[in-house]
């Protein structure tokens, strides 16, 4: 079965869905990101947008300007040379976060569920670097993975209707920082005041799929103080071990 990937199929009038192996893993995600990057760099007449996610890439094109079979061949070509596509170097965004209290309504429950103390939950969560698998949902939400197993907690049984933008939380192995006020079923244990999304900039977030995010614990006063800084100021080069 392994050699049948990627799967490709036309979707609606002007898009092709490309799928790599059906799993959430960094090595499969890398293929999706390489394909997206390769397609954007090579580009072709009629290409509108390329959206990579965990294991899938959707290529949007103008069906009046380019034929679906030509797009398919183009994707095959780029895919054939995937290993040669060098992605931009990953960066680590260390985004100061305040934990617990009103900014972390789920901290005590997460502690109870995991058998850790609230301090241990914060210590464990805030010292990890989480890979960005993809951007999307709404307002450039970064889908983070790699939450340690000791912190695996299911989603809330019914989502909260509104969680403030900047809230930091997780469910299962996934984590996120909400870019704007949103409904969510994740467990929120902290909050950052750094804007992770700004529609008046392009791109609206400096975070790219393949980057890493860490949410180091600081006191609320400091979190608010540094919240005025631009997200880009918290980026450093990422040293993978």
């Amino acid at each position: 079965m392994g050699d049948t990937y990627p799967l490709m199929r036309a979707v609606a009038e002007g898009s092709i869905l490309v799928e790599y192996e059906e799993e959430v893993s960094l090595h499969v995600n890398l293929k999706a990101r390489q394909l997206a990057f390769g397609l954007e760099r090579a580009s072709f007449d009629g290409l509108e947008e390329v959206v990579p996610t965990y294991r899938s890439v959707v290529v949007y094109f103008d069906p009046f300007r380019v034929d679906v079979d030509a797009v398919r061949r183009f994707i095959e070509e780029v895919n054939a040379n995937l290993v040669e596509i060098d992605l931009p170097l990953p960066r680590l965004f260390r985004i100061p976060t305040t934990y617990g209290g009103i900014h972390g309504p789920d901290l005590d429950r997460v502690a109870e569920h995991t058998g850790l103390t609230p301090d241990e939950v914060v210590e464990l969560f805030s010292t990890q670097a989480y890979p960005v698998y993809c951007l999307g949902f709404i307002c450039s939400l970064a889908y983070l993975g790699g939450v340690p197993e000791a912190l695996h907690v299911p989603r809330l049984s019914s989502p909260r209707p509104s969680v403030p933008g900047g809230s930091v939380g997780f469910a299962g192995s996934q984590a996120n920082i909400l870019p704007v006020d949103s409904p969510s079923g994740f467990n929120y244990i902290g909050r950052t005041f750094v804007e992770v999304y700004d529609p008046h900039e392009f791109p609206p977030t400096p975070i790219r799929p393949g980057d890493y995010i860490q949410c180091p614990a600081v006191l609320e006063g400091e979190a608010r103080l540094v919240g005025k800084k631009h997200l880009g100021e918290f980026a450093e080069s990422f040293q993978s071990n």
């Binding site: 979707v11 939400l141 529609p199």
Partner: protein
Amino acid sequence: MKYGIPPSGAMDQRSFVIGNLLLRNPNSAAALETVLQGLKLRALRRVRISITGGDLDPWLNDRPAPQWAAFTMKEGDVLHFKKRKKGLRAYVAAEGGFDVPEVLGSRSTFVRGRIGTVLHKGETLSTCFSDSEAPGDVLTLPQAYRPDFNRTDPIRVLMGPQEDYFTPRGIDTFLNSTYRISPQFDRQAFRTEGPAIEIAKGPGIITDPIPRGAIQVTGDGRPVILLRDAQGTGGYAKIAIVARVEMDFLGQMMPGDTIRFQGIERKTALNLLHEEADRLDKLRELLR
């Protein structure tokens, strides 16, 4: 969409575009979208406008205002949308377009993403064009170009990309049932009420991109139709995608309306899209 920002914009693009064409505006000129009833506008100076889209019973001072038409408001004239009669959204375009800033290459409002705002009582709007030379007479759209908001035939869809997440019986239910648009309703999505679609696996998938018009099926087996302000990625299987030519009609539907689905081939959908583009080109010629 790769930044998780939806295309947004007019929910009924066709009516919006025609509104601009009647004024010889470019397509990028900003117009107002108003829903149901209540919008009241007073002209602070002479301004040429157009009204298109759903019939929300617009009145100009003390008589019904022309619809699907461009006309001139004099200083002090009041335009008032009194009552929803047909469709849901009307468009008011102004000569030159309303003066709103461009964000990310668009003048659309996307409230959740802090792009643009909803208008409030007492606000003043300016247009990008202040000195109308255009004649004041009424320019009416030929009847043949008006969309039919009374239609009851099924909404055409292209099956996939994840129809294999549903049983053959589930697909059959989807294509042969009537669904009612539920009160949970906004510019992001319609939820529907009706027979549950039998699910073969999932319906959770590894989160992937959501093309516009996607029809997701949630855990309760009901279709959810994603509209112009929808999220760019999601984790529910998509049984079908609404044909592009149908999106404008969906933009005029509201809670309580019923909907049926009919599968068509991609080739047919492309032909329909071509015809639609040709029709608008012809209209553009006609109004030039």
